[in-house]
Symmetry: C2
Protein backbone atom coordinates (compact mmCIF):
# COMPACT_ATOMS: atom_id res chain seq x y z
CA UNK A 1 0.00 0.00 0.00
CA UNK A 2 3.01 2.22 0.26
CA UNK A 3 3.61 2.45 -3.43
CA UNK A 4 0.75 3.43 -5.62
CA UNK A 5 2.33 2.68 -8.93
CA UNK A 6 -1.02 2.17 -10.56
CA UNK A 7 -1.36 4.10 -13.77
CA UNK A 8 -4.22 6.51 -13.92
CA UNK A 9 -6.17 4.44 -16.36
CA UNK A 10 -7.47 0.99 -16.94
CA UNK A 11 -6.86 -1.22 -19.89
CA UNK A 12 -9.48 -1.14 -22.62
CA UNK A 13 -10.60 -4.57 -21.63
CA UNK A 14 -10.99 -3.53 -18.04
CA UNK A 15 -13.04 -0.56 -19.08
CA UNK A 16 -15.15 -2.72 -21.27
CA UNK A 17 -15.71 -5.17 -18.46
CA UNK A 18 -16.63 -2.39 -16.10
CA UNK A 19 -19.08 -0.70 -18.42
CA UNK A 20 -20.66 -3.96 -19.38
CA UNK A 21 -20.98 -4.91 -15.74
CA UNK A 22 -22.79 -1.74 -14.90
CA UNK A 23 -25.05 -1.82 -17.90
CA UNK A 24 -25.91 -5.46 -17.54
CA UNK A 25 -26.67 -5.23 -13.87
CA UNK A 26 -28.78 -2.14 -14.36
CA UNK A 27 -30.76 -3.73 -17.12
CA UNK A 28 -31.23 -6.92 -15.18
CA UNK A 29 -32.39 -5.00 -12.20
CA UNK A 30 -34.84 -2.88 -14.09
CA UNK A 31 -36.30 -5.71 -16.05
CA UNK A 32 -36.61 -7.96 -13.08
CA UNK A 33 -38.07 -5.17 -11.03
CA UNK A 34 -40.80 -4.61 -13.53
CA UNK A 35 -41.58 -8.27 -13.73
CA UNK A 36 -41.76 -8.55 -9.96
CA UNK A 37 -44.04 -5.59 -9.68
CA UNK A 38 -46.47 -7.12 -12.09
CA UNK A 39 -46.30 -10.55 -10.60
CA UNK A 40 -46.55 -9.81 -6.95
CA UNK A 41 -46.40 -6.14 -6.17
CA UNK A 42 -42.89 -6.45 -4.85
CA UNK A 43 -39.99 -4.17 -5.42
CA UNK A 44 -36.67 -5.70 -6.20
CA UNK A 45 -35.34 -5.02 -2.77
CA UNK A 46 -38.34 -6.53 -1.11
CA UNK A 47 -37.94 -9.60 -3.20
CA UNK A 48 -34.30 -9.81 -2.28
CA UNK A 49 -35.21 -9.58 1.35
CA UNK A 50 -37.83 -12.29 1.13
CA UNK A 51 -35.48 -14.46 -0.87
CA UNK A 52 -32.71 -14.01 1.65
CA UNK A 53 -35.05 -14.96 4.44
CA UNK A 54 -36.32 -17.91 2.49
CA UNK A 55 -32.77 -19.04 2.10
CA UNK A 56 -32.37 -19.34 5.80
CA UNK A 57 -33.36 -22.67 7.36
CA UNK A 58 -35.72 -21.08 9.83
CA UNK A 59 -36.69 -18.15 7.70
CA UNK A 60 -35.11 -15.67 10.08
CA UNK A 61 -32.30 -13.21 9.89
CA UNK A 62 -31.01 -10.36 11.91
CA UNK A 63 -31.43 -6.93 10.47
CA UNK A 64 -27.73 -6.47 10.02
CA UNK A 65 -27.40 -9.73 8.18
CA UNK A 66 -30.12 -8.62 5.84
CA UNK A 67 -28.52 -5.28 5.24
CA UNK A 68 -25.23 -6.90 4.45
CA UNK A 69 -26.74 -9.47 2.16
CA UNK A 70 -28.69 -6.93 0.20
CA UNK A 71 -26.23 -4.06 0.34
CA UNK A 72 -28.66 -1.66 1.74
CA UNK A 73 -28.46 1.18 4.14
CA UNK A 74 -29.70 0.43 7.61
CA UNK A 75 -32.35 3.04 7.44
CA UNK A 76 -33.60 1.86 4.09
CA UNK A 77 -33.77 -1.62 5.46
CA UNK A 78 -35.82 -0.48 8.39
CA UNK A 79 -38.20 1.17 5.99
CA UNK A 80 -38.57 -1.83 3.72
CA UNK A 81 -38.93 -4.31 6.51
CA UNK A 82 -41.59 -2.04 7.90
CA UNK A 83 -43.47 -2.26 4.63
CA UNK A 84 -43.12 -6.01 4.48
CA UNK A 85 -44.33 -6.29 8.02
CA UNK A 86 -47.31 -4.11 7.29
CA UNK A 87 -48.08 -6.35 4.36
CA UNK A 88 -47.91 -9.36 6.65
CA UNK A 89 -45.04 -11.02 4.86
CA UNK A 90 -42.59 -10.89 7.72
CA UNK A 91 -42.64 -10.33 11.46
CA UNK A 92 -40.16 -8.59 13.66
CA UNK A 93 -39.23 -9.88 17.05
CA UNK A 94 -36.55 -9.00 19.52
CA UNK A 95 -33.50 -11.12 19.27
CA UNK A 96 -33.09 -13.81 21.84
CA UNK A 97 -29.52 -13.29 22.85
CA UNK A 98 -29.17 -9.60 22.24
CA UNK A 99 -31.84 -7.22 23.33
CA UNK A 100 -30.73 -4.63 20.83
CA UNK A 101 -31.13 -6.95 17.92
CA UNK A 102 -34.22 -7.50 15.85
CA UNK A 103 -34.95 -10.77 14.17
CA UNK A 104 -36.97 -10.75 11.01
CA UNK A 105 -38.93 -13.85 10.18
CA UNK A 106 -40.80 -14.88 7.08
CA UNK A 107 -44.47 -15.59 7.62
CA UNK A 108 -46.52 -18.17 5.79
CA UNK A 109 -47.90 -15.40 3.67
CA UNK A 110 -44.40 -14.28 2.89
CA UNK A 111 -43.42 -17.73 1.78
CA UNK A 112 -46.49 -17.80 -0.32
CA UNK A 113 -45.72 -14.63 -2.15
CA UNK A 114 -42.16 -15.74 -2.61
CA UNK A 115 -43.26 -19.03 -4.10
CA UNK A 116 -45.68 -17.28 -6.38
CA UNK A 117 -43.14 -14.85 -7.70
CA UNK A 118 -40.10 -17.02 -7.94
CA UNK A 119 -40.79 -18.98 -11.12
CA UNK A 120 -41.35 -15.88 -13.18
CA UNK A 121 -38.26 -14.36 -11.73
CA UNK A 122 -36.19 -17.33 -12.68
CA UNK A 123 -37.68 -17.49 -16.09
CA UNK A 124 -37.01 -13.86 -16.73
CA UNK A 125 -33.43 -14.31 -15.71
CA UNK A 126 -33.04 -17.26 -17.96
CA UNK A 127 -34.23 -15.36 -20.97
CA UNK A 128 -32.57 -12.11 -20.18
CA UNK A 129 -29.28 -13.21 -18.79
CA UNK A 130 -28.46 -16.80 -19.53
CA UNK A 131 -29.99 -17.50 -22.89
CA UNK A 132 -26.98 -16.38 -24.92
CA UNK A 133 -24.42 -18.02 -22.67
CA UNK A 134 -22.87 -21.43 -22.83
CA UNK A 135 -22.45 -23.28 -19.58
CA UNK A 136 -18.78 -22.53 -19.93
CA UNK A 137 -19.56 -18.84 -20.03
CA UNK A 138 -21.69 -19.16 -16.94
CA UNK A 139 -18.86 -20.93 -15.23
CA UNK A 140 -16.37 -18.19 -15.94
CA UNK A 141 -18.83 -15.55 -14.98
CA UNK A 142 -19.61 -17.15 -11.67
CA UNK A 143 -15.98 -17.84 -10.96
CA UNK A 144 -14.72 -14.36 -11.68
CA UNK A 145 -17.56 -12.57 -9.99
CA UNK A 146 -17.15 -14.72 -6.93
CA UNK A 147 -13.53 -13.78 -6.73
CA UNK A 148 -14.44 -10.14 -6.90
CA UNK A 149 -17.19 -10.47 -4.37
CA UNK A 150 -14.96 -12.19 -1.88
CA UNK A 151 -12.36 -9.55 -2.41
CA UNK A 152 -14.85 -6.79 -1.79
CA UNK A 153 -16.29 -8.48 1.23
CA UNK A 154 -12.95 -8.81 2.87
CA UNK A 155 -12.26 -5.17 2.22
CA UNK A 156 -13.43 -2.38 4.48
CA UNK A 157 -16.21 -0.70 2.53
CA UNK A 158 -19.00 -2.74 4.05
CA UNK A 159 -22.04 -1.32 5.65
CA UNK A 160 -20.40 -1.80 9.00
CA UNK A 161 -18.40 1.34 8.80
CA UNK A 162 -16.82 2.15 12.09
CA UNK A 163 -18.50 5.13 13.49
CA UNK A 164 -16.13 8.03 13.20
CA UNK A 165 -14.17 7.97 16.37
CA UNK A 166 -10.63 8.06 17.58
CA UNK A 167 -9.16 5.40 15.37
CA UNK A 168 -9.18 6.82 11.90
CA UNK A 169 -9.57 4.10 9.31
CA UNK A 170 -9.79 6.91 6.80
CA UNK A 171 -6.29 7.12 5.35
CA UNK A 172 -6.79 10.77 4.53
CA UNK A 173 -6.57 9.97 0.87
CA UNK A 174 -5.98 13.02 -1.20
CA UNK A 175 -8.69 15.01 0.36
CA UNK A 176 -8.39 18.62 -0.62
Amino acid sequence: MTDKSSPASLSPTELEAYFALIEVSSLVRHTVEEQLRNAGGLSYVQFQLLATLGDSPDGSRRMTELADGVVYSRSGLTYQVGLLEKAGLVVRSPSADDDRGVTVTLTAGGRDVLARVFPGHIDGLRQLLFEPLTSEDVDSLARVLTIVRDHMRSNPPRSAKPRRKGAAPRPASGDA
Copy 2:
Protein backbone atom coordinates in the same frame (compact mmCIF):
# COMPACT_ATOMS: atom_id res chain seq x y z
CA MET B 1 -38.27 -21.85 -30.16
CA THR B 2 -41.60 -23.54 -30.20
CA ASP B 3 -40.98 -25.64 -27.16
CA LYS B 4 -40.25 -23.93 -23.93
CA SER B 5 -38.88 -26.85 -22.05
CA SER B 6 -36.99 -24.64 -19.66
CA PRO B 7 -37.18 -25.96 -16.14
CA ALA B 8 -38.44 -23.62 -13.52
CA SER B 9 -35.09 -23.21 -11.92
CA LEU B 10 -31.55 -22.31 -12.68
CA SER B 11 -28.46 -24.35 -12.16
CA PRO B 12 -26.51 -23.67 -8.99
CA THR B 13 -23.79 -22.06 -11.01
CA GLU B 14 -26.27 -19.80 -12.71
CA LEU B 15 -27.69 -18.77 -9.40
CA GLU B 16 -24.25 -18.15 -8.07
CA ALA B 17 -23.39 -16.03 -11.08
CA TYR B 18 -26.60 -14.08 -10.70
CA PHE B 19 -26.21 -13.38 -7.01
CA ALA B 20 -22.58 -12.46 -7.40
CA LEU B 21 -23.45 -10.16 -10.26
CA ILE B 22 -26.00 -8.31 -8.21
CA GLU B 23 -23.87 -8.07 -5.13
CA VAL B 24 -20.76 -7.02 -6.98
CA SER B 25 -22.49 -4.37 -8.99
CA SER B 26 -24.24 -3.01 -5.93
CA LEU B 27 -21.04 -2.82 -3.98
CA VAL B 28 -19.19 -1.24 -6.84
CA ARG B 29 -21.89 1.30 -7.25
CA HIS B 30 -22.06 2.20 -3.61
CA THR B 31 -18.35 2.45 -3.16
CA VAL B 32 -17.80 4.43 -6.29
CA GLU B 33 -20.68 6.67 -5.44
CA GLU B 34 -19.18 7.56 -2.13
CA GLN B 35 -15.82 8.22 -3.66
CA LEU B 36 -17.34 10.45 -6.31
CA ARG B 37 -19.30 12.40 -3.79
CA ASN B 38 -16.18 13.16 -1.83
CA ALA B 39 -14.09 13.95 -4.84
CA GLY B 40 -16.37 16.12 -6.85
CA GLY B 41 -19.84 16.34 -5.42
CA LEU B 42 -21.21 14.13 -8.14
CA SER B 43 -23.64 11.31 -7.85
CA TYR B 44 -22.91 8.14 -9.72
CA VAL B 45 -25.49 8.88 -12.33
CA GLN B 46 -24.20 12.36 -12.88
CA PHE B 47 -20.75 10.99 -13.36
CA GLN B 48 -22.04 8.44 -15.80
CA LEU B 49 -23.74 11.17 -17.75
CA LEU B 50 -20.66 13.34 -17.88
CA ALA B 51 -18.53 10.38 -18.83
CA THR B 52 -20.91 9.39 -21.59
CA LEU B 53 -20.84 12.88 -22.93
CA GLY B 54 -17.09 13.02 -22.67
CA ASP B 55 -16.95 9.87 -24.70
CA SER B 56 -18.62 11.55 -27.60
CA PRO B 57 -16.34 13.33 -30.05
CA ASP B 58 -18.21 16.60 -29.78
CA GLY B 59 -19.34 16.16 -26.19
CA SER B 60 -22.98 16.02 -27.16
CA ARG B 61 -25.70 13.47 -26.98
CA ARG B 62 -29.42 13.36 -27.37
CA MET B 63 -31.44 12.82 -24.24
CA THR B 64 -32.63 9.45 -25.42
CA GLU B 65 -29.13 8.31 -26.16
CA LEU B 66 -28.15 9.27 -22.66
CA ALA B 67 -31.06 7.49 -21.12
CA ASP B 68 -30.27 4.35 -23.05
CA GLY B 69 -26.61 4.46 -22.27
CA VAL B 70 -27.18 4.96 -18.60
CA VAL B 71 -30.33 2.90 -18.19
CA TYR B 72 -32.30 5.60 -16.60
CA SER B 73 -35.86 6.61 -16.71
CA ARG B 74 -36.59 9.55 -18.94
CA SER B 75 -37.93 11.61 -16.12
CA GLY B 76 -34.97 10.86 -13.93
CA LEU B 77 -32.71 11.87 -16.74
CA THR B 78 -34.53 15.15 -17.15
CA TYR B 79 -34.05 15.78 -13.48
CA GLN B 80 -30.36 15.00 -13.42
CA VAL B 81 -29.57 16.89 -16.58
CA GLY B 82 -31.38 19.80 -15.00
CA LEU B 83 -29.08 19.60 -12.02
CA LEU B 84 -26.01 19.37 -14.19
CA GLU B 85 -27.16 22.30 -16.23
CA LYS B 86 -27.79 24.34 -13.12
CA ALA B 87 -24.29 23.49 -12.01
CA GLY B 88 -22.96 24.69 -15.32
CA LEU B 89 -21.52 21.37 -16.37
CA VAL B 90 -23.70 20.85 -19.41
CA VAL B 91 -25.99 22.87 -21.62
CA ARG B 92 -29.19 21.92 -23.31
CA SER B 93 -30.04 23.02 -26.80
CA PRO B 94 -32.74 22.06 -29.25
CA SER B 95 -31.68 19.41 -31.67
CA ALA B 96 -30.82 20.56 -35.14
CA ASP B 97 -32.74 18.07 -37.19
CA ASP B 98 -35.59 17.26 -34.85
CA ASP B 99 -37.36 20.01 -33.04
CA ARG B 100 -38.58 17.63 -30.38
CA GLY B 101 -35.09 16.55 -29.52
CA VAL B 102 -32.81 18.07 -26.95
CA THR B 103 -29.07 17.91 -27.31
CA VAL B 104 -26.99 17.91 -24.19
CA THR B 105 -23.46 19.21 -24.45
CA LEU B 106 -20.59 19.14 -22.02
CA THR B 107 -19.23 22.54 -21.07
CA ALA B 108 -15.64 23.36 -20.32
CA GLY B 109 -16.51 23.27 -16.67
CA GLY B 110 -18.04 19.87 -17.14
CA ARG B 111 -14.91 18.56 -18.76
CA ASP B 112 -12.98 20.02 -15.93
CA VAL B 113 -14.95 18.26 -13.26
CA LEU B 114 -14.79 15.06 -15.22
CA ALA B 115 -11.03 15.29 -15.50
CA ARG B 116 -10.72 16.01 -11.83
CA VAL B 117 -12.83 13.08 -10.77
CA PHE B 118 -11.75 10.47 -13.24
CA PRO B 119 -8.40 9.40 -11.79
CA GLY B 120 -9.83 8.64 -8.40
CA HIS B 121 -12.66 6.79 -10.00
CA ILE B 122 -10.31 4.64 -11.99
CA ASP B 123 -8.14 4.04 -9.02
CA GLY B 124 -11.06 2.99 -6.89
CA LEU B 125 -12.15 0.57 -9.53
CA ARG B 126 -8.74 -0.88 -9.81
CA GLN B 127 -8.55 -1.61 -6.13
CA LEU B 128 -12.09 -2.68 -5.68
CA LEU B 129 -12.76 -4.62 -8.80
CA PHE B 130 -9.64 -5.55 -10.68
CA GLU B 131 -7.04 -6.12 -8.03
CA PRO B 132 -7.84 -9.76 -7.44
CA LEU B 133 -8.25 -10.60 -11.11
CA THR B 134 -5.76 -11.86 -13.62
CA SER B 135 -5.88 -10.35 -17.07
CA GLU B 136 -7.36 -13.63 -18.16
CA ASP B 137 -10.16 -13.18 -15.70
CA VAL B 138 -10.78 -9.70 -16.97
CA ASP B 139 -10.91 -11.04 -20.48
CA SER B 140 -13.55 -13.63 -19.65
CA LEU B 141 -15.53 -11.14 -17.68
CA ALA B 142 -15.55 -8.61 -20.47
CA ARG B 143 -16.32 -11.22 -23.06
CA VAL B 144 -19.23 -12.80 -21.26
CA LEU B 145 -20.74 -9.57 -20.07
CA THR B 146 -20.51 -8.14 -23.55
CA ILE B 147 -22.41 -11.09 -24.91
CA VAL B 148 -25.11 -10.56 -22.34
CA ARG B 149 -25.27 -6.86 -22.93
CA ASP B 150 -25.66 -7.28 -26.65
CA HIS B 151 -28.32 -9.85 -26.09
CA MET B 152 -30.22 -7.56 -23.79
CA ARG B 153 -29.88 -4.62 -26.09
CA SER B 154 -31.32 -6.50 -28.98
CA ASN B 155 -34.25 -7.61 -26.88
CA PRO B 156 -37.40 -5.59 -26.34
CA PRO B 157 -37.20 -4.46 -22.76
CA ARG B 158 -35.44 -1.22 -23.54
CA SER B 159 -36.61 2.16 -22.51
CA ALA B 160 -38.42 2.44 -25.81
CA LYS B 161 -41.50 0.67 -24.66
CA PRO B 162 -44.41 1.07 -26.99
CA ARG B 163 -46.83 3.37 -25.37
CA ARG B 164 -49.95 1.70 -24.22
CA LYS B 165 -52.82 2.56 -26.46
CA GLY B 166 -56.13 1.14 -27.61
CA ALA B 167 -56.71 -1.40 -24.89
CA ALA B 168 -56.55 1.18 -22.16
CA PRO B 169 -58.96 0.83 -19.24
CA ARG B 170 -58.96 4.58 -19.13
CA PRO B 171 -62.20 6.25 -18.10
CA ALA B 172 -63.71 8.66 -20.58
CA SER B 173 -62.44 11.79 -18.98
CA GLY B 174 -60.73 13.79 -21.64
CA ASP B 175 -60.86 12.68 -25.18
CA ALA B 176 -60.52 9.47 -27.10
